[in-house]
């Protein structure tokens, strides 16, 4: 029996499109096009589907080709699934770097939301964010930044900062010029040392103390 290149299956989770293992990618795309051709305004339109790619790893070009086809026929791809694990469309970055295993390791990537502030923070201004905070500018004395993750200031840090505000002791604070009025990481608190900083520095918790080091070779500090 000739095996279908693609099959539509309905289940409790909704509609899933499966493609056969043997078929070449071009065949798969053509088959999808044919099945959905003229189907606009018909049964499938507006439906959100899961595309199961089997054991394939889709390249970015293949993913965007797939999007195109579905868009033209009014279908919405809810997620692209492979037997390597369920992936959502927003994880397209994931499929790009899938082969480089080092980037799958959560030690090396941080997918927590990160707020990027693109101006100086003035005295009296407070920023609180559930995630990491990066400031492209100065943080003036009298201002306060509170983050559950890390805080990085690409400028002079002279205000008060609290990283790891929900208790994460791995959080850190870095700045091109680290001279905070007060620096807190998780439950630890300290103030800037007397000397003016000469180069970028990073503050982390080490053995129950906040330790400030030069920020050269920052990757190794994690």
């Amino acid at each position: 029996m000739k095996k279908e290149i693609i099959t539509f299956k309905g289940s409790r989770d909704g509609l899933t499109i499966y493609c056969s293992k043997e078929a070449v990618w071009d065949e798969v795309i053509t088959a999808i096009k044919t099945r959905l051709e003229g189907k606009k305004g018909s049964f499938f339109e507006g439906a959100s589907v899961v595309f199961d790619a089997g054991t394939r790893t889709l390249s970015p070009e293949q993913v965007s080709a797939l999007w195109q086809v579905f868009q033209e026929s009014g279908l919405i791809i809810r997620s692209i699934r492979t037997s390597l694990g369920k992936k959502s469309p927003t994880d397209r970055i994931q499929s790009l770097i899938n082969d480089a295993n080092i980037f799958r390791d959560t030690d090396n990537v941080c997918k927590e939301p990160t707020l990027v502030v693109r101006r100086n923070v003035r005295s009296g201004q407070d920023i609180t964010f559930a995630g990491n905070v990066v400031v492209f500018g100065d943080v003036n004395p009298g201002s306060k930044i509170t983050a559950s993750g890390f805080i990085m200031v690409m400028g002079s840090l002279m205000g008060t900062v609290h990283a790891g505000a929900e208790g994460n002791r791995d959080a850190w604070v870095g700045a091109l010029r680290l001279q905070p009025t007060q620096l807190r990481i998780a439950g630890f608190i300290t103030r800037a040392p007397e000397e003016e900083p000469l180069m970028p520095e990073i503050a982390q918790i080490s053995e129950d103390m906040i330790v400030v080091r030069e920020m050269k070779g920052i990757a190794n500090k994690f």
């Binding site: 003035r122 005295s123 009296g124 100065d138 003036n140 004395p141 009298g142 002279m158």
Partner: protein, 265 residues
């Protein structure tokens, strides 16, 4: 249609009232029609510094509440015909006028004067909000002190939040020999933190003490260095380019400042 400029600082005692009186008088001496508005209700000082305290009949609160016509509350200056003062009330406080009333007053004054200069009280509460209500431009005054710069930074943040963008900076009461010795904040450090354009630098001058007590603004005294600085600031407000006066400091700071203001050093 005139320009409405608010002179503010956050910190008290840095020289807002002195700056208002002197810039206003200097502009009037250049032939401009100027009105000075004192919004420090309850703690009025601008009338004393201008030497007009004996001539107050009606004040800002009266005019705002309609108890008199705006014209009746304006006091003509002793020396210049086209310079006027709208004094604050001494017996009320800053809740006596609303933001809407201030806006309306400034709109009326704009029509009859080239410059409406508003002397803002210290602080960030109702007095400040009233003062900036009708303003289009802002001048932030500070002294070279850490506490004053901290407050100025706060004020600039509040001005930006109120859509009064690009305030200009006046650094007041600077002592060049102390800056040289490193005992006083460097002008460049202040500009780094505050990150706004410099309008002028006024040196510490004993003549200011005498002039505010006598009610004769220092710009009228040709021997006063602060007066000279204020005259230059007034010229810059009208768009003229004026080099910074040499305050007997090493060239380094001033050629850098000149560059900041766009002059060739």
């Amino acid at each position: 249609m005139g320009e409405v400029i608010v002179i503010t600082s956050g910190k008290g005692g840095v020289g807002k009232t002195t700056t208002t009186a002197n810039i206003g008088t200097a502009l009037a001496s250049m032939g401009k029609r100027v009105v000075l508005v004192d919004t420090d209700i309850g703690l009025r000082n601008l009338d004393v510094v201008m030497g007009l305290e004996n001539r107050i009949v009606y004040d800002l609160v009266d005019a705002a509440n309609g108890q008199c016509r705006l014209r009746q509350a304006l006091i003509k200056d002793k020396r210049f015909d086209h310079l006027a003062l709208l004094p604050a009330a001494q017996t009320k406080d800053k809740t006596a006028v609303t933001v809407e009333q201030m806006k309306k007053l400034c709109d009326q004054l704009k029509e009859d004067f080239d410059y409406v200069i508003i002397d803002c009280p210290a602080g960030i509460e109702q007095g400040f909000k009233n003062a900036i209500a009708g303003a289009e431009k802002a001048v932030v005054v500070t002294t070279p002190e850490v506490a004053a710069v901290r407050d100025a930074d706060r004020i600039i943040g509040l001005l930006e939040a109120a859509e009064l963008r690009n305030p200009k900076l006046v650094i007041n009461r600077i002592r060049p020999h102390m800056v040289k010795k490193g005992d006083m904040m460097d002008i460049n450090d202040m500009i780094d933190i505050l990150a706004i354009e410099l309008l002028g630098v006024v040196p510490e001058d004993e003549i200011i003490v005498v002039s505010t007590n006598k009610g004769e603004p220092a710009v009228l005294d040709m021997t006063s260095r602060a007066g000279q600085a204020y005259r230059n600031i007034a010229k810059r407000i009208t768009g003229e380019e004026v080099p910074l006066i040499n305050l007997e400091v090493e060239d380094g700071i001033f050629s850098r400042m000149k560059k900041l203001l766009g002059f060739k050093s």
